[in-house]
């Protein structure tokens, strides 16, 4: 029997044209508000077992022994597996470097690493069994920062590296290093009238998506397995899973189950292989659902970073040079670290014109939790630092911080530090102008006729101030993010589009493997089909591996790349439909041969608006189906020595203005307003675009004032893996977020659109920090800023 809750197609009609540029509503909206939308944790199968993972209780240790006998003896337990039970010699996986063991082999390298897996008839049985597995550890010293990891006698996190970065890194505990040198920093430095330096710290942020890692693996009669899973990229999972399972890729079927948010945290595998191993071992469906505690160990986090910056400027406010060194902590396994290094280095200058730069970014191997993809990776950390530097420079020069930025803002044609020209609009100064021009929120908005409304004051419901100590501050920031996979990656997507008459109406079906994680890709695909094919009804087929790869739902790329693939496939379908029309009706009207023909309102029409035929009549019983891969223009790797190269596809820009109120005595912050201006190229769905910008902005707010995974530097153990102590903003912490959307087309992209998901996460954090500095006069060189940093009690 099929798994309960397995996704089936969703058909959505539209009373309006419902094409691109309209704020059409989500096709899955009704299912999501009625509780019927099946997320990966909702999947259910008769006779299914529950999987449980036993994780390491220490960060770095040799495994002396594992005894599973008591666990196996527990009634209701169907399987217990360790490294020794893996079916093939392929026992590692990884996005780029296959350095991550499916189950620990002789050694654990971070707190919470999977050591053994259990399948049982009830989650509690599985938990009890896991607790009965005896693991003896011999603890090893931990490396937790640059000094300890790169010391000459440092313990190596991975002893025998043979990955493609191993040859060029200065120390085996450095995953990847990317320098970028351009111009002549020494002589440019000589022209500087002011030089500012800074050392900045960015804390470890968690994606904190609400839907925990989960999925259901169902063994199949042919010896294969079908996995219903929440992920960001089905085909990437498949490529990593199949070799470990010892199965050809066509015997590992993947269907996307409902995804409860992602933000980068589902780029790496979590429970995918474990569930499949247990299903194949027991011959029964196996469901695994992490709880929130486990989720903090089950996915990578945003790289914490140390950033060392030096900028110079002339008295009249022009930047002379920039030197920086960015040290990212990648934790125990590589994950996306190499790409994070590439982004951090190539975007380290920010959206500014600086001709003379000396840049170095590295990612470390340590025994801290593995870090990898999170919204805006690499660029987020850099933006926090370079925007702090911009404010410092403006202050040194006695200039307005916005004017100073505008004076140095890049524009179309500016060369990146990599030598790549920015060949589409780069309205950096304009975004700053717009965000500054928005009206400021009223002062003392918390005063009411009944006294101070504490809900609108720092501290909120906790009743800490009725206005005492409260000072307002305003801050600005702007950032630049690359869109799409960079550095020569073959970044393509696949779309299958079918058109046919169903119940007397033309219907388009769009089938891709795109992971809908909440971003609204399914809405946009239907809109594209309506625009290109002139139909009202569009069916979105569930995402699965029966169609080619759509690439990852990350790097702000899906609307661009899979949207581009859907558009391309629709255009080919349209050509074939018109060909059928010409064949059937061409002789009735000369325009079939001579005019530019469009599909609109279920009809074939000329560009002059004349109706030639109904699509229903054109298609008759025929169905037209096209599957195509689509690629954006290629990129190049960065030179390993100089960092030069056309590494990126497109850039995305957003600017923020933050207004905060700080209780300067207690160090509590209330963000009053967080305004954003962003260029989106073309808003395919304005409602969704604004929603993305507001959501990204709020994640930036979170890491400005509260969000941080705290790792004990002595033991490398995570100290706050829960929603009690890892805090994300509530609705009372989140201000109004007015958004000004600018649409300057990028002629290289489908419809002129720009990837938008990440840029708002960059500038939000430094804008809030700038506002807090403005309110308090403090330097504040780390994020998140905590009450003790604002009160001198750290």
């Amino acid at each position: 029997m099929p798994a309960n809750g397995a996704p089936t197609k969703i058909t959505q009609g539209s009373r309006s044209r419902g094409g691109i540029g309209e704020s059409t509503l989500r096709p899955d909206g009704t299912l999501k508000v009625t509780g019927e939308f099946a997320y990966s944790s909702d999947m259910w199968h008769e006779d299914m077992l529950w999987g449980q993972i036993l994780r390491s209780t220490v960060a770095h240790a040799e495994i002396v022994s594992i005894d599973t006998s008591e666990a196996l003896a527990l009634p209701g337990v169907y399987a217990v597996m360790t490294y020794d039970d893996l079916p093939t010699e392929v026992r590692n996986y990884g996005l780029e470097i296959q350095d991550t063991p499916v189950l620990a082999h002789g050694k654990v390298r971070h707190h919470g690493e999977p050591v053994a897996i259990v399948a049982a008839d009830h989650p509690e049985t599985a938990r009890r069994a896991a607790a009965k597995i005896k693991v003896e550890y011999r603890e090893l010293p931990v490396v937790t920062d640059e000094a300890s990891a790169t010391a000459p006698d440092a313990v190596l996190v991975h002893e025998d590296r043979d990955d493609h970065h191993a040859g060029h890194v200065p120390h085996p505990n450095i995953v990847h290093r990317q320098p970028i040198v351009r111009g002549d920093v020494a002589s440019a430095r000589g022209r500087a009238d002011v030089i500012v330096e800074g050392e900045y710290t960015f804390g470890m942020q968690d994606q904190a998506f609400l839907g925990p890692e989960s999925g259901l693996a169902v063994p199949e009669e042919d010896g294969g397995v079908h996995l219903y899973i929440a992920t960001q990229w089905l085909h990437s999972d498949l490529r990593q899973m199949a070799p470990v399972l010892g199965l050809p890729e066509d015997k590992v079927r993947m269907t996307l189950a409902g995804v409860g948010g992602a933000f980068g945290g589902r780029e790496d595998l979590s429970m995918q292989i474990h569930a499949c191993l247990l299903a194949l071992r027991t011959g029964k469906p196996v469901k695994i659902v992490y709880n929130r505690f486990e989720s903090f160990f089950g996915h990578v986090h945003r790289h914490p970073a140390k950033l060392y910056y030096e900028h110079g400027a002339t008295r009249d406010g022009k930047l002379t040079h920039m030197k920086c060194r960015i040290v990212l902590d990648g934790g125990a396994y590589a994950s996306a670290s190499p790409a994070v290094v590439g982004n951090a280095s190539s975007l380290s200058v920010g959206p500014y014109v600086v001709d003379d730069v000396d840049i170095e970014a590295i990612a470390l191997y340590t025994n801290n939790p593995p870090c990898g993809a999170m919204r805006g990776f690499g660029a987020v950390q850099a933006c926090f630092a370079y925007e702090a530097q911009m404010d410092k420079l403006a202050r040194e020069l006695g200039m307005d911080p916005v004017e100073f930025r505008q004076l140095n803002a890049m524009e179309q044609g500016t060369l990146m530090p990599t030598g790549q020209p920015v060949d589409s609009p780069a309205p950096v100064a304009e975004l700053l102008r717009r965000v500054k021009a928005m009206p400021l929120p009223p002062e003392r908005q918390w005063e009411s006729s009944e006294g101070a409304d504490v809900r609108q004051l720092p501290g909120g419901l906790s009743n800490t101030t009725h206005g005492e100590g409260v000072v307002r501050g305003v801050g600005y920031a702007v950032g630049i993010k690359n869109v799409g996979f960079s550095e020569g990656f073959d970044d393509y997507s696949t779309a299958r589009v079918r058109m046919e008459v169903v119940a007397g109406e033309p219907v388009a079906t769009v089938h891709t493997a795109m992971a809908e994680v909440g971003q609204g890709g399914v809405t946009v695909h239907a809109q594209i089909a309506r625009t290109e094919l002139g139909v009202a009804q569009v069916t979105i087929h569930p995402a699965d591996t029966k169609v080619g790869s759509a690439g990852s739902t990350s790097a702000s790329r899906q609307t661009y790349v899979t949207g581009g693939a859907v558009k391309n496939a629709c255009e080919l379908v349209r050509e074939q439909v018109l060909e059928i029309g010409r064949r059937r009706f061409g002789s009735y009207h000369p325009a079939w041969a001579t005019a530019e023909l469009l599909l609109e309102g279920g009809k074939v029409v000329t560009d002059g608006g004349e109706v030639l035929a109904d699509l229903v009549d054109v298609l008759g019983d025929e169905a037209v189906e096209v599957e195509r891969e689509w690629r954006h223009r290629p990129t190049e790797a960065f030179d390993l020595r100089t960092g030069q190269g056309n590494g990126h596809v497109q850039y995305s820009f957003a600017a923020h203005r933050a207004v905060v109120e700080v209780d300067t005595e207690l160090g509590l912050v209330k963000v009053v307003e967080l305004a954003c201006a962003q260029d989106v190229g073309k808003a395919l769905n304005p409602l969704s675009v604004v929603g993305q910008i507001q959501g990204g902005t709020t994640q930036g707010l979170g890491v400005a004032v509260m969000e941080e995974i705290i790792v004990d530097p002595k033991t490398a153990k995570v100290r706050n893996p829960s929603f009690t102590d890892y805090l994300i903003p509530t609705i009372l912490d989140t201000p109004t977020i007015p958004v000004d959307v600018l649409e300057l087309a990028d002629d290289h992209a489908p419809y002129g659109l720009r990837g938008i998901g990440e840029a708002p996460t960059l500038s939000s954090t430094p804008a809030v920090l700038a506002a807090i500095r403005n309110a308090t006069g403090l330097e504040l060189d780390r994020t998140p800023v905590r009450p003790e940093h604002l009160t001198g009690t750290a």
């Binding site: 058909t11 909206g29 009704t30 009625t34 709880n291 809900r455």
Partner: protein, 189 residues
């Protein structure tokens, strides 16, 4: 142990319940009602919010046995609940019908034919749903607030929803949705 209680107006019985199970687990895994969500299981996110004898609670923190004999309303029953509220009545369902009943799969519904409560429709219309994992809990909480505070200020809305985390939207569209639902309920729009 065995637990009997009423869910969305229908009597339900769950057997072989482990004593440490939460109401959330019983709803999701034993009664085929996965609409209430399992985001944190520590009362810190509100995704599992249900009405227990009319009161919004985190179902992850209600022991299954504590639900014995109580009435529960989940997101799956929200539209019915709102309809009954507007009619001012209640109705029961025969036990055999209740046992046969379960949440449907996503199916191929277009959504336009479904009957939704005001607050559900407002969430769709305002763009308040992205990944949707927080949505069921927010809907139950927002619906309950509007029941006793039909004309909330923004600060009232924020306070009433301060126990429901959302990671996608930045809450702005959720504010819009609740304002819209309030306006529609009072017949303003």
């Amino acid at each position: 142990m065995r637990v009997n209680f009423t869910v969305n107006g229908r009597p339900q019985e769950a057997d072989d319940v482990w004593e440490g199970e939460s109401l959330l687990y019983v709803l999701r895994e034993r009664l085929g009602l996965p609409g209430s969500k399992n985001a944190c299981e520590q009362g810190e996110c509100g995704s599992c919010t249900v009405r227990l004898d009319g009161v919004p609670v985190c179902s992850c923190l209600v022991a299954a046995g504590q639900a014995e004999g109580r009435e529960v309303v989940t997101v799956e029953g929200l539209a019915d609940h709102a309809r009954q509220r507007s009619r001012g009545g209640s109705r029961g369902v025969p036990l055999d019908e209740a046992k046969a009943w379960q949440a449907g799969g996503p199916g191929s519904r277009t959504g336009e034919e479904a009957e939704l409560s005001t607050v559900q429709q407002a969430f769709i219309d305002a763009g308040a749903v992205q990944c949707g994992f927080c949505t069921p809990g927010l809907l139950v909480a927002a619906d309950e607030m509007l029941e006793h505070n039909p004309d909330p200020s923004d600060a009232d809305i924020r306070e009433a929803l301060s126990g429901n985390l959302c990671r996608c939207t930045g809450y702005e569209k959720i504010m819009d949705a609740v304002r819209l639902a309030a306006a529609r309920q009072s017949g303003e729009v």
